[in-house]
């Protein structure tokens, strides 16, 4: 059994072009070779991890039994994982042998160079890998492919654990490709693992151990049998077809469930009981003619039934009357956001260790600025804090009273965005709003409550 040196667990990453890879669960073992095979080009995002161009949005990377929190080239470099693409730089002021042996980590204690030793070593190494170069050669005249070959053996000489190669076939003709494969076969014998992403992956099927079929930012299938590698395209197409079918089924089912899943609510208003239902992830605007009546309805909604029951069934209320009381000024903004969710994060209340992951998750949390402001609870900061709190807490139904009308234009825009995000997470929202225009803009459905309890349901 080969020894594992790196593991991705439920990893979600995003590169600088906002391309994503999701749900990566991969184990890398010493001396094993991996090929990324994909019909689209999202597989290159995988190599971006090692290039230092990707960001972890969630999940973990374990490297030699230690978790790393950022994908930087230096970290991988230190752990002897080298990224190689067609853009390989050399120092023109140094000759080839010096380029091979000086461009690496050094403890700076060595002072004198033994030129003879360096050149002899280079000669030996070049002979070992059948590369027709001379250690004294100038590097200015080397072709791109030659530089890549030299970079590969330079990395191996530095004790590489794994080489990550990105689209090398782009610079290779047939002969170069043959040479490259020979070189990689030789390197494989030295227990160096490699991961290849290429626009022509079929070139490498005979030298790899595992093929990852990548499609739309996911590893759809892992192939371990050599006999399957030659059928990658076919398997890939079948997998995609299956996935499309499965996805469409899921979507359909989900839509059906969505239609079915709704919450029935009721409250007392002007002595009579009002009943209405709200679907999951829907924004419902309860429109009412007079402001006074709205506050009555709000109070009636809040006090209807047993409060404990309301809380246990995941219904939360937030309105202009308790805008300030929701905030604990002695706690930090972060703690204010986390407060109701603390038990969900850790049953014993040790939520601090996971806190970092929550606030680093860009999917969840766009703004870092305001949370670092120490206890600066301005109106807008308070609103932001509470919105993020709901987003994190994820209630089933959230009843909002005059929140939009309390906000200025800029803040209104911000709130509308957050409301949509909440509904994406399947929270249903009931709006009681005096700013009817804004509420209409965002509501999926409007229920008009006229005086003397006549109701009219308006769709769309």
């Amino acid at each position: 059994m080969r020894k594992e040196f790196m593991r991705f667990t439920n990893l979600y990453i995003k590169n600088s072009h906002y391309e994503r890879l999701e749900q990566l669960n991969v184990i890398f073992r010493k001396g094993e070779s991996y090929l990324l095979w994909g019909n689209d080009h999202t597989g290159h995002v995988f190599t971006d991890i090692f290039r230092g161009e990707a960001r972890i949005t969630s999940g973990n990377i374990w490297l030699n039994d230690q978790e790393i929190f950022e994908c930087s080239r230096e970290i991988f470099h230190q752990e002897k994982i080298f990224y190689i693409d067609s853009y390989t730089e050399f120092m023109y002021t140094l000759d080839l042998a010096e380029n091979l042996f000086l461009l690496k980590r050094n403890n700076l204690k060595k002072l004198f160079i033994n030129q003879k030793a360096i050149h002899m070593q280079a000669k030996e190494m070049l002979e070992q890998y059948n590369l027709p170069f001379n250690g004294w050669e100038k590097t200015e005249t080397l072709s791109t492919v030659d530089k890549v070959f030299l970079n590969i053996i330079r990395s191996v000489d530095q004790g590489a654990q794994m080489l990550v190669m990105n689209n090398l076939s782009a610079i290779c003709n047939q002969q170069d490709m043959k040479k490259l494969k020979e070189l990689l076969t030789q390197i494989r014998k030295e227990e160096v693992a490699f991961l290849i992403y290429d626009s022509h992956p079929e070139n490498f099927t005979d030298i790899v151990d595992i093929v990852f079929l990548v499609n739309k930012g996911r590893i759809e299938k892992k192939l371990y049998e050599k006999s399957e590698f030659y059928l990658c395209n076919k398997i890939m197409n079948e997998t995609i077809r299956n996935i499309t079918e499965i996805t469409s089924k899921i979507v359909k089912k989900h839509a059906e469930v969505m239609e079915e899943e709704s919450y029935d609510l009721s409250c007392d208003f002007e002595g009579k009981e009002i009943q209405f239902s709200i679907f999951r992830g829907e924004i419902l605007y309860l429109a009412i003619q007079h402001g006074q009546e709205q506050s009555v309805l709000w109070k009636s909604l809040k006090s209807y039934g047993n409060r404990k029951e309301l809380i246990s069934s995941g219904i939360r209320f937030w309105g202009e009357d308790n805008l300030n009381t929701e905030i604990f000024p002695n706690l930090s903004i972060k703690d204010n956001i986390l407060l109701p969710t603390v038990k969900k994060i850790n049953k014993l209340g040790f939520y601090k260790s996971r806190e970092r992951f929550i606030f680093q998750d860009k999917e969840f949390f766009e703004e870092n600025k305001f949370i670092t402001e120490k206890n600066n609870f301005t109106d807008s900061n308070m609103m932001k804090t509470i919105f993020y709190r709901w987003k994190l807490f994820h209630p089933k139904v959230l009843v909002l009273n005059n929140i939009l009308s309390r906000a200025d234009v800029e803040m209104k825009e911000w709130i509308l965005k957050r409301l949509l995000e909440l509904t994406e997470r399947k929270t249903s929202i009931i709006l009681l709003e005096s700013a009817a225009e804004d509420a209409m803009k965002i509501a999926d459905r409007v229920i008009m409550i006229k005086s003397k309890n006549t109701m009219k349901d308006l769709q769309g």
Binding site: R73, E74, H77, Q78, E89, M91, Y92, T93, L94, E98, L102, L103, K104, R105, N106, L108, K110, L111, F112, I113, Q115
Partner: protein
């Protein structure tokens, strides 16, 4: 033979200037003052080597002249306060080493353009003592300590020869010599490769600053004073020598031969201008031309 041809081709302008100068000396147009020439040559070569080393590591140093001035003033103040001259010389060396270390650290840490950064340092160094010394000058003795002392000239020349040999060895046979070129050519790649660029840069700047401390001591002892203008005279001349010596800015190229030839050319030109009485008139124009030359060199290296 081929190498010699290439060598002559590379420094043809310098050779032409020296040749004209020698020819004119033989014709009797100029009075060749050998000791004065030697003294100028010593100072210029030390400074050129220091600046070239920094330039090869990718940093264009405009603060070295101010650094010399600062160290002469500091030493002169200490001597005036009763410290022995040899102790003041050690202070100069120590101060330069610290300043070099600081330069290397800040340049790598802040990643600022070296021209701007050293220009700012120059202003700081020149004005440190402006509050203490109203004339920006301090004399510590009425007698010129080293004036006409030929033994001292010979000693400094011997030191220079050793430095040139050491420099040759440093650039070709030590890791730091190679690192210096690597930093100058592509610092990003050097960093990516795992080199400790900050430590290397600091070491290189310390070595360069030690080269500056020898002319600083010489100038202080020749004039028996310290002044903010002492180094300023050498700023553009040394930069000209570096450019003429073919030292590349941000490409790591350059040789010890080039440094010495560059210094020799500039000293010869200065002697010619002094001999003809044009030095003061053309000095400022010369400075401007040299800046343009330096920018041109920089552009060419970029392209």
């Amino acid at each position: 033979m081929e190498r010699l041809k290439r060598f002559i081709q590379e420094y043809k302008i310098s050779f032409a200037i020296v040749f004209i100068f020698l020819l004119e000396c033989m014709r009797g147009s100029y009075d060749l003052k050998a000791w004065s020439f030697l003294r100028q040559m010593n100072i210029m070569t030390f400074l050129t080597i220091g600046v070239s080393l920094e330039m090869m590591s990718g940093d264009f140093d405009l603060a070295f002249a101010a650094q010399i001035s600062l160290s002469t003033i500091t030493a002169a103040l200490l001597i005036s306060a009763g410290l022995p001259i040899w102790t003041a010389c050690i202070v100069i060396i120590g101060l330069n080493a610290i300043l070099g270390c600081l330069k290397g650290f800040l340049l790598t840490k802040l990643k600022m353009p070296s021209i701007i950064f050293t220009l700012a340092l120059q202003v700081i160094f020149l004005n440190i003592f402006s509050g203490v010394l109203p004339d920006n000058r301090i004399n510590f003795s009425d007698i010129l300590v080293l004036h006409g002392n030929r033994a001292a000239e010979v000693l400094v020349t011997g030191l220079l020869i050793l430095t040139v040999c050491g420099m040759y060895f440093f650039l070709n046979n030590t890791y730091y010599g190679k690192y210096c070129r690597m930093l100058g050519e592509n610092m990003e790649l050097a960093e990516k490769s795992g080199l400790n660029c900050m430590a290397i840069s600091m070491i290189i700047h310390v070595i360069a600053s030690l080269f500056f401390s020898i002319p600083a001591i010489s100038i202080m002892l020749y004039t028996s004073s310290g002044s903010t203008y002492m180094g300023a005279n050498y700023l553009y001349k040394v930069l000209a020598a570096v450019c003429l010596g073919g030292i590349g800015f941000q490409n790591g190229k350059g040789s010890v031969n080039g440094m010495v030839i560059g210094a020799l050319t500039v000293v010869t030109m200065l002697m010619m201008l002094t001999g003809s009485g044009y030095l003061n008139r053309f000095e400022t124009i010369l400075e401007g031309i040299i800046i343009l030359l330096a920018l041109d060199v920089k552009n060419r290296t970029k392209n």
